[in-house]
C-alpha cells in the first residue's frame, strides 16, 4: 500500500480524525438531548470518521511530520499548537479511535433504555476527542490541556450514574487522585520551560537536550513528569482510584482501562522516552515504582470477588509491566505491551459486561451460579483474552510479555526479571481463578434458560472483532517494531531462557488456578485466602486507603487545615472585628459632640478658632 500524501492532505486527515467527536459532543449536548437514537448514531459515526482518518494517516505515513500554528506569544516564549504525527502517535491514534468505536457500538446494547443515554454518548464523544487530541499534541502544554480534559471526561463517565452515592464518590476520587499527580506534572513542565524555553515534544526529545539542562534538573523534571504518570496510570502510591472507578458503566471501564485515560500516562512516558532516558536515576525510579505496583496489584486481584475489580487490578499490574519495560530502556517493548494490552483488556471488560448487564451483579461467584457459561460467545472470547493477559502462546499477550521480559532480563540486576516472572505467575493465577469460578461454578441454578440481553448482537460483534485482533496482533510484532523503532538492531540480545521461564510460569499459574478452582471437588479457596492476615492485607489493598486517610487526617486536616482555620478565625476575623469595634467605639465617643442644639454646634467652631487665634497672638 503505497499512499503518499502532501502536507495539506495530511493536515486534512489529521483534522478529520480529531474534530468529528468534538462536533458530535456539541451537537448532542445542544440539540439531541431528547433523541437518544440519533445521538448514538451521531457519536458512533463521528468516531468512525476519526478511525478512517487515523487509518489513512497510518497507511500514508512516510516520515514524522509536525504541523503547527502559533498559539500564544509572550516575550521570548511562544507556544505552538498543532499535530505531531510520528509512529508512536499514529499507532496510538488508531488504537484509540478503533477501541472507542467498538466500545460505543457495544454501548448501544449495554446502555439501552438508560435514562441518560444521550448524555452517555455525549461524554463518550468528549472522551474520544480529548484522547485523540492528546495523542496528536505537538507540545507538552497542549498535551497537558487534553490530559486534563481526559481526566474530566473520565470523571463524568465514572460518576455517570450520579444517583448512586458510591459512583459520585468514585468519580471524585478518580479526579482528585489524578489531580495530585497532575500538579507534579505541571511543575515538571514549568521546570523544563524555564530552563529550555520550549515545550515542543520534538525539541525535548532532541539529542542536545542533555546539554541544555544540568543533570540534576533533568532528573528532577523527569521525576515530576513521572508524577503525572503515576496519577494517570494508577501507579503506586496513587493506585486505588482505578478499582473504585468500576462504579461507572462497564463499557466505560473497558475504554478507561485500555486505550484512554490510564494509557495516557504510559503514552506520555513513551512519548518523552528519549528525553527521560537522559536521566538514569529517574529511570531506576520508574522501574521500581512499576515493579512495586505490578506485584501489589496482582496480589490484590488474587482475593477479589468483584469481576470488574479483578480486571481493574490486572490493568494496574499490566501498566506496572509497561512502566517496568520503559524504565528498563525498552521503548518498543513498553509501547507494544500497551498496544496488545489495550485490545485484550477491552475484550475482557466487554465480555464481562455482557453478564453484568444480564444478571445485574458484579460478583464472580454469583455470575457463575446464574449460568454464565450458557452464553458461549462471550465465554470463549473471555478465555482468549485471559489467556492473552496471562501471556500464553500464541496470543498477542504472549509476544508482548515475552518482549517485556526480554527487556528486563537485559538489565544487570536480576531482581527485576525475577519480579517480572513472579508477576507473570500471579497474573495467570488470578485471571484463570476468575474464569474457572465463572465457567465452572460449584452448583448452577436451574432454569433461566438461554436468556440473552435484548441487543445481544450489537454487544457480541465488537467482542468478536476484538478477539480477532487479540489473536493476530502478536504476529505483527516485527512489522510494528520496524514501524516504531528506526534502527531495529538496537534491541538487546534475546534471552531465550526468559521466554521458556515466563511461558512455564504462566502455565503453572493456570494449573494452580485449576487445582484450586476448576478441578471437581476442589474447595474453591485460593492459597492466598487460606491465611486470614494475608487475605485481609490483600483485600484491604495493602491498607493503602487507610494510609491515605491517616495522611489526610494528620497532615491535611489536623495540621494545615487547622492552622488555616486558626489563622482565619484569629487573625483575619479578629482583625476585621477589631477594626469595626474600634470604629463603633470611636463613633460613640465623637457622637457626644452633637449636642442636639444647633446653636452650640454653630458657636463651637468660632469659639475654638477664636481661642486658637488668641493664643497665637499671645505667643
Amino acid at each position: 500500500m503505497m499512499l503518499s500524501f502532501n502536507q495539506d492532505l495530511v493536515l486534512v486527515f489529521a483534522l478529520l480524525s480529531v474534530l468529528p467527536p468534538l462536533f458530535s459532543f456539541g451537537l448532542i449536548v445542544v440539540f439531541l438531548r431528547s433523541s437518544p437514537g440519533l445521538s448514538s448514531l451521531v457519536s458512533i459515526s463521528a468516531v468512525a470518521v476519526s478511525l478512517i482518518g487515523a487509518v489513512l494517516l497510518l497507511l500514508g505515513f512516510r516520515r514524522p511530520v509536525e504541523l503547527s500554528a502559533t498559539w500564544i506569544v509572550t516575550g521570548h516564549l511562544s507556544f505552538p499548537f498543532g499535530f505531531l504525527l510520528d509512529p508512536t502517535s499514529l499507532l496510538m491514534l488508531v488504537l484509540v479511535a478503533g477501541i472507542s468505536l467498538l466500545v460505543q457500538v457495544y454501548s448501544v446494547g449495554y446502555m439501552a433504555a438508560d435514562p441518560g443515554y444521550s448524555r452517555y454518548f455525549a461524554f463518550q464523544s468528549l472522551f474520544a476527542w480529548a484522547m485523540i487530541a492528546l495523542v496528536l499534541s505537538s507540545s507538552l502544554l497542549q498535551l497537558y490541556v487534553f490530559w486534563e480534559l481526559v481526566g474530566l471526561s473520565s470523571y463524568l463517565l465514572i460518576g455517570f450514574w450520579y444517583e448512586k452515592f458510591s459512583a459520585t464518590q468514585a468519580g471524585k476520587k478518580a479526579f482528585v487522585m489524578t489531580r495530585v499527580g497532575d500538579v507534579a506534572l505541571f511543575m515538571g513542565l514549568l521546570l523544563v520551560l524555564l530552563h529550555t524555553g520550549s515545550l515542543g515534544i520534538q525539541e525535548m526529545n532532541g539529542s542536545d537536550m542533555a546539554s541544555r539542562m544540568s543533570p540534576d534538573l533533568l532528573t528532577l523534571s523527569a521525576l515530576l513528569i513521572f508524577g503525572g504518570v503515576i496519577g494517570k496510570s494508577a501507579q503506586f502510591p496513587l493506585l486505588t482510584w482505578l478499582p473504585d472507578a468500576m462504579e461507572g458503566p462497564t463499557p466505560v471501564s473497558a475504554l478507561l482501562h485500555s486505550a484512554t485515560m490510564v494509557a495516557a500516562g504510559v503514552y506520555l512516558l513513551a512519548r518523552l522516552f528519549p528525553f527521560l532516558s537522559h536521566a538514569e536515576a529517574a529511570m531506576t525510579v520508574f522501574l521500581t515504582i512499576g515493579t512495586i505496583t505490578m506485584v501489589m496489584a496482582s496480589t490484590m486481584a488474587m482475593v477479589e470477588k468483584d469481576l470488574k475489580r479483578i480486571w481493574a487490578y490486572s490493568t494496574v499490574s499490566q501498566l506496572g509491566f509497561m512502566i517496568m519495560a520503559l524504565g528498563a530502556g525498552g521503548f518498543f517493548e513498553g509501547t507494544f505491551h500497551l498496544t496488545t494490552h489495550a485490545v485484550f483488556k477491552a475484550l475482557l471488560f466487554l465480555c464481562s459486561g455482557v453478564w453484568i448487564h444480564l444478571y445485574g451483579t458484579n460478583d464472580v461467584f454469583a455470575i457463575g451460579r446464574r449460568g454464565a457459561r450458557r452464553l458461549k460467545a462471550p465465554m470463549i472470547c473471555i478465555f482468549l483474552a485471559a489467556a492473552s493477559l496471562s501471556g500464553i502462546a500464541p496470543l498477542s499477550g504472549f509476544f508482548s510479555k515475552e518482549a517485556v521480559m526480554g527487556a528486563l532480563a537485559g538489565l544487570d540486576n536480576p531482581v527485576w526479571v525475577a519480579a517480572g516472572l513472579l508477576g507473570v505467575f500471579l497474573t495467570a493465577y488470578y485471571a484463570f481463578r476468575a474464569l474457572f469460578i465463572l465457567a465452572l461454578p460449584l452448583k448452577e441454578e436451574k432454569g433461566g434458560g438461554d436468556e440473552k440481553p435484548a441487543l445481544f448482537r450489537t454487544m457480541v460483534w465488537p467482542i468478536i472483532i476484538l478477539s480477532f485482533f487479540t489473536v493476530v496482533l502478536g504476529w505483527l510484532e516485527p512489522f510494528l517494531e520496524g514501524f516504531l523503532v528506526e534502527d531495529v538492531n538496537i534491541r538487546t540480545n534475546p534471552h531465550s531462557w526468559v521466554v521458556w521461564a515466563s511461558s512455564g510460569l504462566a502455565v503453572l499459574g493456570v494449573m494452580v488456578a485449576w487445582l484450586e478452582f476448576g478441578r471437581k471437588g476442589s474447595a474453591r479457596i485460593g492459597f492466598a485466602e487460606r491465611w486470614a492476615p494475608v487475605r485481609e492485607l490483600f483485600a484491604q489493598r495493602w491498607y493503602l486507603d487507610h494510609a491515605y486517610e491517616l495522611v489526610l487526617e494528620y497532615v491535611v486536616y489536623r495540621t494545615f487545615a487547622a492552622l488555616c482555620s486558626r489563622n482565619d478565625q484569629k487573625v483575619i476575623d479578629g482583625g476585621v472585628d477589631g477594626l469595626s469595634r474600634l470604629t463603633v467605639a470611636g463613633g460613640r465617643v465623637l457622637s457626644h459632640l452633637q449636642s442636639g442644639a444647633l446653636r452650640y454646634n454653630v458657636a463651637l467652631p468660632f469659639v475654638i478658632v477664636g481661642i486658637v487665634v488668641f493664643c497665637v497672638l499671645l505667643v
Binding site: L590, S591, H592, L593, Q594, S595, G596, A597, L598, R599, V602, A603, F606
Partner: protein
C-alpha cells in the same frame, strides 16, 4: 483712603459678630438665616476695605460673588426652612435634636 483700614476691619468684625450672635441666639430659623446673611456682609466689608487698601480689583470681585452666593443661599435656605416646617410644624432649631449624641 480717608477711613483707616483698621477701622474698616473693626466694623467688619462687629458686623460679623452681630450676625454670629443672631445665628446662635435667635430661636427662629428665618432669623438664623438673616444672621448668616449679616455674617456674609461683614466678610464683604472686610474684602471691600482690603481691595481699597491695595488698589486691587479682586476685593470687589469677591464682594460680587458673595452677593450672588448670599442670594442663592437665601433661596435654598428658605426652601429648606419651609420643608423643615412642614415636617415638624416648628421653626425652632432647638426642636431638631434627632442627632443628639
Amino acid at each position: 483712603m480717608i477711613v483707616p483700614y483698621g477701622h474698616v476691619l473693626v466694623l467688619a468684625g462687629i458686623i460679623f459678630c452681630l450676625g454670629l450672635t443672631c445665628v446662635v441666639a435667635r430661636r427662629n430659623l428665618i432669623m438664623v438665616l438673616i444672621g448668616v446673611e449679616i455674617m456674609l456682609n461683614g466678610a464683604a466689608v472686610a474684602f471691600m476695605g482690603s481691595g481699597l487698601l491695595w488698589q486691587r480689583l479682586e476685593g470687589q470681585a469677591f464682594v460680587l460673588f458673595i452677593l450672588g452666593i448670599a442670594a442663592t443661599e437665601v433661596s435654598v435656605g428658605l426652601a429648606l426652612i419651609l420643608h423643615a416646617y412642614r415636617r415638624s410644624g416648628s421653626v425652632d432649631p432647638d426642636t431638631y435634636s434627632v442627632l443628639k449624641g
